[in-house]
């Protein structure tokens, strides 16, 4: 082998120099690449690195509690865990979805549907896939942190309401915000957030919700928590005190029992709502987590309408309760004059048609004046009064006294009822008013419709010399709306005397609910839902009625007025609703007497809750309501307009 190459020194200097330039060129290109990443796009990658490193988990602020007027807890919270799904990495989500569904016992299809529904939301926002985590779910999440780094647990505060739908329509309930609400909220709501859907929960949502905090943790590449950053504490929602008296509320709930109906108790001197019940009522605890589609459909399809708040939304014919309006109108307008009397043979014929008195077939009232017409609830007397007044005068006084418009209670969906008039018939039915219809309206039948709240409000207003106070549920309401209707002393005296007689005089229709030692006044009403004839055709016997009773005490300047209605009853209003009203008034006075006699009550002693009422939550926020925020009570009408629903 020749080793001649040992001395071959022809070196390709030009090509070696070229190699040097290639090296310089390559290094320069690489540096340009780094310059692009580290100087030009540095901020973008800085954000991405931060998003990698930091996982933000909201700290849910507890909602403010609701207390009764004596400080007893009506609605509070309990801690619970929700399972969050982090959706930043779509590929990992779709890959792990079956395992997640399996591990948490969820339906894969439901999960997929939920992901589709939340597609429009920013990817960095986690979604709640299981609102109530079981210990097994927690174990699953913890043990799969490394291989399924997509799940996170979130401590939340669930709403706890008193069981059995207690005060459910007043409190309302909270629910998960819908996709539309999230989009419309400008980032205020996140998926899985809760907001008041109905009742006070909705009316005072802005007060009750706190401000969520944020826990920021450092996670490594497999999702393990490596450290914590400073956390933003949650600000709890404000606690609100209601005008509701738990003791009276309990009597109201028990009084209605299984019956379908509503009862509301007001203090007409202040407008405070002391009791507020509507039956049947859903148990809002069932909605506190997540209401299933089937359950929701069932509640909506239920012929008893459990979701309807009958106190403010049931628009029913008032029946004989309307005679108080008629009597007031008659005394104020002097049409017919005060000393007007009518003869009741058990029926009357008006405009060629026979109208029965409620005693028809059993007896007759004979000659009746205004007082005995109220006491004995004579229909024929008021047929005559109505015929003489005419529908427009009836409508004028009914509206003036507060019917046909909202009372302004601080609840989101109050109905205004209906006071028919010639103008109304023309506008809605495009025909002239039939004078015969006036006869039905005179005894609270026909197209006149009222809500139980309106009945309590209007009767309370009349008995308080025409001083009306806006009904409200929020205790700390510094400026309650009020109006004054000019009523003569004689009118108020006559009407209240009549109502006193209903309960306390012989022959009064409310004698059965008389209370010893209390100036208890009232008026019953039995509104026919269909005529006797129609009912007997359908084989419903005596027919279906709405039984009303409105009562107050004492006779002048009453402290409490209670209106109750029981729907679909075959009985007389004094029999079905009367005792409900009486029991509440009695409970009110029992409590008041105890207090004045120096006995132990909730008001002069800090509330000690019994086991069967509600429990105190130790970490409950102590927040003083700001007065200006509660001014919302006055302008609740305006506020309602701003709401979409």
């Amino acid at each position: 082998m020749s080793y001649w190459f040992r001395n071959d020194n022809r070196l390709p200097q030009v090509r070696l120099a070229a190699a040097s330039y290639v090296i310089v060129g390559i290094i320069t290109l690489l540096l340009l690449g780094f310059w692009k990443l580290q100087v030009i796009d540095s901020d973008k990658y800085g954000v991405m690195a931060e998003r990698n490193r930091v996982r933000s988990i909201p700290i849910i602020a507890p909602r403010g509690r609701m207390l009764d007027r004596d400080g007893r807890v009506l609605v509070d919270n309990y801690p619970s865990f929700s399972v969050l799904l982090l959706r930043d990495d779509e590929a990992a989500v779709s890959k792990n979805l079956p395992a997640i569904a399996d591990g948490l016992g969820l339906s894969l299809d439901d999960l997929k549907e939920q992901l589709v529904n939340t597609e429009a939301l920013p990817k960095f926002q986690p979604i709640v896939i299981k609102p109530e985590a079981t210990p097994a779910d927690v174990a699953f999440i913890e043990s799969h942190r490394a291989d399924i780094p997509l799940l996170e647990m979130l401590m939340v505060h669930r709403r706890r309401y008193l069981p059995g739908g207690f005060m459910a329509h007043a409190s309302g309930y909270v629910g998960e915000v819908s996709e539309q609400q999230i989009e419309a909220s400008n980032g205020k709501f996140r998926p899985g957030d809760f907001a008041g859907k109905t009742g006070l929960e909705r009316q005072y949502n802005d007060l009750l919700v706190g401000t969520d905090g944020m826990r920021r943790v450092i996670v490594n590449s497999v999702g393990k928590e490596m450290g914590r950053l400073e956390q933003q504490e949650a600000i709890p929602g404000k606690q609100i005190q209601l005008t509701i008296d738990y003791d009276l509320q309990q009597v109201a709930e028990a009084g209605l029992g299984d019956k379908k109906g509503a009862v509301v108790a007001l203090n007409p001197q202040t407008g405070e709502v002391l009791a507020f019940a509507s039956h049947p009522a859903p148990d809002p605890n069932d909605f506190a987590i997540r209401v299933s589609k089937e359950e929701w459909q069932r509640l909506n399809a239920d012929p008893a309408h459990p979701l309807l708040d009958r106190v403010t939304q049931a628009q029913l014919a008032p029946g004989s309760v309307f005679k108080i309006i008629m009597a007031t109108a008659m005394l104020e307008s002097k049409v017919p004059p005060e000393n007007f009397t009518a003869f009741c043979p058990g029926y009357g014929v008006f405009y060629g048609q026979m109208h029965k008195c409620w005693v028809y077939g059993k007896s007759s009232h004979g000659a009746v004046d205004l007082h005995s017409a109220i006491v004995r609830s004579c229909d024929v007397f008021f047929y005559n009064v109505g015929m003489r007044m005419g529908i427009d005068r009836i409508a004028k006084y009914a509206k003036m006294l507060g019917l046909g418009s909202k009372s302004g209670i601080d609840l989101p969906s109050e109905e205004s009822g209906l006071v028919p008039s010639e103008e109304w018939v023309q506008r809605v039915y495009h025909h002239k008013w039939y004078p015969g219809s006036t006869i039905s309206v005179s005894i609270g039948q026909g197209s006149v419709m009222v809500t139980p709240l309106q009945v309590a409000y209007v009767i309370g207003g009349i008995a308080s010399d025409g001083d009306y106070k806006q009904p409200h549920l929020l205790k700390d309401a510094p400026s309650v709306g009020q109006k004054h209707v000019e009523l003569s002393e004689n009118t108020v005296e006559q009407v209240t005397q009549g109502m006193y007689g209903v309960v306390n005089e012989a022959g009064g229709t409310g004698q059965s609910v008389k209370l010893q030692g209390i100036e208890f006044c009232g008026k019953s009403g039995t509104a026919q839902m269909m005529s006797y004839a129609a009912a007997s055709r359908l084989g419903l016997g005596k027919g279906k009625n709405d039984g009303w009773f409105v009562g107050f005490a004492p006779r002048r300047n009453p402290e409490i007025v209670v209106a109750a209605v029981v729907e679909d009853t075959s009985e007389h209003g004094g029999t079905t609703s009367g005792p409900v009203v009486r029991d509440i008034v009695k409970a009110y006075y029992d409590k008041k007497n105890k207090k004045t006699q120096g006995q132990v009550t909730a008001e002069n002693h800090p509330p000690q809750l019994q086991k069967n009422t509600a429990s105190l939550v130790s970490e409950a926020p102590k927040v003083v309501l700001k007065p200006q925020e509660t001014a919302a009570v006055v302008s609740s009408n305006e506020k309602r307009k701003a709401r979409p629903e």
């Binding site: 082998m1 080793y3 190459f5 040992r6 001395n7 071959d8 020194n9 022809r10 070196l11 390709p12 200097q13 090509r15 070696l16 120099a17 190699a19 040097s20 090296i23 310089v24 390559i26 290094i27 690489l30 540096l31 690449g33 780094f34 310059w35 692009k36 990443l37 580290q38 100087v39 796009d41 540095s42 973008k44 990658y45 800085g46 991405m48 690195a49 931060e50 990698n52 490193r53 990495d89 779509e90 590929a91 990992a92 450092i218 996670v219 490594n220 590449s221 497999v222 490596m226």
Partner: protein
């Protein structure tokens, strides 16, 4: 013939650059592993550097002409060793690349890189003309082709690719004709689809995810994305030693080895990158200078073979870190953790020293 060269003839500048790069590597390996289960890796790297330095000095004493004389035997040994790896080698991380020696696992292909540098230098040195003939080009191609196929079989695409620049640079310096160069490029382009067919699935995936990174968020596309996030978030000044979140929290894949430049860039910023790439440029230019001053063609080819191999490593590795090239698994010379790779670089530098020491010897 003069007697053996003295210590003054060593390229101390080159050694200083090598030492500086090794220091950066050890610092970053320490930063990337000190808080994890891999703690202590930097001391093992220091051990490899010391062993490498000793081997380098020993290797440099042996006249490179003697080594070149043994080229055919080395070539056969290399081929046999690669075959042995395929037959009896140790499987780790899904590839058969390792054989155990003295309780450590060595990648035979690293040694084969060195052998191919020597064999190619011997081959090109024997070319008598100023222009490289087609026959010689094909012969050189075959010399590289056999071990290349064997390394691809392991599979180790990265190391196999390193053989190509050795061949190309050697052929270029041996007088490659432009028409041949054009022809090779054209044939290469035509062969691409065939070559694609022979790639392993994971290799194909790396290439596709390089071309379409958004379609592969968790695979190698994820690795490159995380690497780019690390580099980019480092900014100009860097997050500081031990403060790189991408590095410390494990978002950078194999942050102590193949992606060490990513970790370095995150913690030291563009200024640190400037330092590191500046050192690599100085290293490579210093190597070229040594080639220019070589006593003979054979020495020049040896030095440029080393330059081609190291330059290719730097280019492919750093380009991968910034997402400019697909993930190939080629380590960054002297910075990445790894025994075989570090020893290869020191032996290669030893070869360069060998040439330098004998530049005045007749």
């Amino acid at each position: 013939m003069k007697e053996a060269p003295g210590t003054r003839d060593y390229d101390w500048w080159l050694l200083a650059i090598v030492a500086a790069i090794c220091t950066l590597g050890v610092i970053e390996i320490y930063s990337a592993t000190h808080g994890s289960v891999l703690v202590g890796m930097h001391t093992r790297q220091i051990r490899w550097i010391i062993i490498g330095t000793v081997l380098m000095f020993i290797f440099s004493r042996l006249d490179y002409h003697v080594i070149l004389d043994q080229a055919p035997i080395l070539y056969i040994v290399g081929i046999l060793a690669l075959t042995a790896v395929l037959l009896f080698g140790h499987r780790r991380f899904g590839a058969q690349r390792w054989i155990p020696i003295l309780g450590e696992f060595f990648q035979v292909s690293e040694l084969v890189k060195l052998i191919i540098i020597i064999v190619l230098a011997r081959f090109f040195a024997e070319v008598r003309t100023d222009e490289l003939s087609l026959q010689d080009l094909i012969k050189a191609g075959l010399l590289v082709g056999v071990p290349l196929v064997l390394i691809l079989k392991q599979p180790d695409l990265g190391t196999a690719l390193v053989l190509m620049p050795m061949l190309i640079v050697g052929a270029f310096l041996a007088g490659l004709q432009w028409k041949h160069a054009v022809a090779i490029v054209l044939i290469g382009l035509l062969m691409l689809p065939v070559g694609w067919h022979f790639l392993k699935p994971y290799q194909k995936e790396r290439v596709t995810s390089f071309l379409h990174p958004e379609e592969d968020a968790k695979g190698s596309g994820y690795q490159v994305l995380q690497s780019k996030i690390a580099v980019g978030s480092g900014g100009f000044w860097g997050k500081g030693f031990g403060n790189g979140t991408q590095n410390q929290l494990g978002y950078i894949p194999v942050r102590y080895s193949d992606f060490i430049m990513s970790a370095w860039a995150e913690e030291q910023g563009f200024k640190g990158v400037l330092l590191a790439l500046g050192l690599y440029m100085a290293l490579l230019l210093r190597l070229v200078q040594n080639a220019q001053r070589a006593k003979d063609r054979a020495g020049m080819f040896l030095v440029m073979g080393v330059t081609a191999a190291l330059g290719f490593h730097v280019l492919v590795n750093v380009a991968m870190v910034i997402g400019a090239m697909p993930v190939t698994g080629i380590p960054l010379p002297l910075m990445s953790y790894g025994g075989s790779a570090t020893l290869f670089v020191f032996l290669a530098i030893g070869l360069v020293m060998n040439v330098r020491l004998r530049r005045f010897v007749n």
